[in-house]
């Protein structure tokens, strides 16, 4: 079959157009759809540090979600915890920072990134990014490969190295399931509470109001106001993950 250059170019152009149709329609569709929520959290370290040694956010979250208290640090399961400033922001350190500041404890949790590497690598979509921004977990589908743990640059994910029920004295709360051994778990921004229009447990439990939760897509929300009023930093911004947890200075 003979085809001249003009015909070939015409065919190629038409094919390219054909290939571009679906993605273009999808992009346009996305713009036309009502802008969805974008859940985010703003942490005010100054307020958090008001109460020395306070761990109420952690206690509230872990109790309600049946997170097993495990003593061995290697096998710890934690959805939210307090980390030393120099460890939460390792690239922000310099030799002249006051030692006292370096050791100040800040709450850290899953950042529910805009561009989550853990979601990219999960082979079964047991973790995925919802339309409202939450990086969600499906403990039924997780095969326990721990690829997501390797991909997360923040160490936010925990694995159940053994049966969590072995570490929980007494009966766990029946309002929320436990997990089985061999699956990865993490904070899910209390999506079960958000469904009932309630704020996440850590936010409610904080006596100083250091954790503010809200919708970034709503320009009048408290989180947006806070981020407008004060400079904020996020963990490891150079990695392009675009965390949804901000720390205001």
């Amino acid at each position: 079959m003979t085809i001249d250059r003009r015909q070939f170019l015409g065919l190629a152009g038409l094919s390219a157009l054909g290939f571009a149709t679906k993605p273009s329609l999808e992009t346009i569709g996305r713009q036309l759809r009502a802008p969805g929520r974008r859940w985010a959290m703003v942490v005010d370290p100054k307020k958090c540090l008001e109460l020395d040694g306070c761990t109420r956010c952690i206690a509230a979250c872990h109790a309600a979600h049946n997170v097993p208290p495990i003593a061995e640090p290697r096998h710890e399961v934690k959805w939210i915890w307090k980390e030393r400033f120099e460890r939460a922001f390792p690239s922000d350190q310099n030799a002249h920072t006051d030692d006292a500041l370096k050791s100040k404890l800040l709450p850290v949790l899953c950042n529910h990134c805009e561009n989550p590497p853990c979601v990219r690598v999960c082979p079964t979509r047991a973790t995925w990014k919802r339309d409202d921004g939450i990086v969600m977990m499906d403990y039924h589908r997780c095969i326990g490969c721990r690829y997501c743990m390797g991909a997360c640059p923040y160490g936010s994910r925990s694995f159940n190295w053994d049966d969590p029920l072995r570490h929980m004295g007494g009966v766990p709360s029946s309002d929320y399931p436990t997990r089985t051994k061999g699956v990865v778990e993490k904070c899910t921004f209390c999506e079960e509470r958000l469904a009932k229009r309630q704020r996440p447990l850590c936010v409610e439990a904080c006596p100083e109001g250091a954790l503010v939760f809200g919708d970034l897509a709503d320009s009048t929300s408290q989180v947006r106001e806070l981020l407008r009023a004060r400079h904020s930093i996020r963990r490891k911004p150079e990695l392009g993950t675009q965390p949804a947890v901000y720390y205001v200075i």
Binding site: P73, R74, H75, V121, R146, C152, P153
Partner: protein, 383 residues
Amino acid sequence: MLQKALTGSRRYWTWLAALAVLIVIGFAAWLRQLETGLVVTGLGRDVSWGLYIAQFTFLVGIAASAVMVVLPYYLHDCKAFARVTILGELLAVAAIVACALFILVDMGQPARVLNVLLYPTPSSLMFWDMLALGGYLVLNALIAWVTLSAERRDEPAPAWIGPIVLLSIPWAISIRTVTAFLYAGLPGRSFWMTALLAPRFLASAFAAGPSLLILVALVLRRVARFDVGRQAIDTLAVIVAYAMIANVFFLLMELFTAFYSGIPEHAAHFRYLFAGLDGHRGLVPWMWTSVALTLVALVLLVVPRLRKNERLLAGAAGAVFVALWIDKGLALVVAGFVPTPFDQVVDYAPTAVENLISVGIWATGTLLLTCFYKIVIAVRTQG
């Protein structure tokens, strides 16, 4: 044809029995792990992948190295490898089976492993790795079966196997590349975040695999009076030499970019490996042993007079295999996790259960390889 694996000398059966003992012990250890959970390993929140995945990574390289004997023979008519290609292909089959077993024992919920195929996720390299390895297993098993059956019947292999053999060549490269991609795209792990990771994986595969083939060929000549030929062994040795040079070169390149750039994040992993970090020096003796073995092996391989000496060649091949096992089967995975995202240095050491399971899987691969090679020898000597 498979029944040829069932007849053998006393030495053959003793060897198989010894392997079977290791397999049974490893299996029992795995049952314990299934019952209790991965808490029986030395893994933890910070070092979440360890011995199992490292063995898997190393064995993918061994499997891919079959291409190093297939390519010269089928594409470049290198007659020396006429009797070796089947050994390479069967090595690939045994290695892939061992790979699959290492993945299986590392899963937290192994019964759900088919979810990877039920819910395909193209963005995940693990999905592609499963497809690539599965496909490679099928390819090599098919090639080995068809060519060996043809040889048994004293016929030329059917023509349709030709394109399949050709397909296995880029496929072998791809399994190694996909496995490197598992590591090379993770944003928080700067030790693995290098464009050089896939080339390093390939270079080490092309050194470790043929080294193993050399050792196996020498063993087969001794215990089974099966000779692949002087030239085949020599050519394999040359391949190993070049691949080792590439390996060392790549490592030096990594060291340069890590240390000359001065970026602490990049250099920290190498410091941890070669000098220890924050008092943690667990891997330092291993790494320097690997370096020493590499240098010795290089000298023995590059100098022709030494390379042609079979005793020294066996030593060199063994040194290459061990050196690369330390590098890929131990250091690579652990150093990726240390220092942690919190800039902390933690230790990882496999537990007894982990070691027993790993030994059991290596024994399984070796058992398969032994049976496969028994069949090959039986077919070859009968003709």
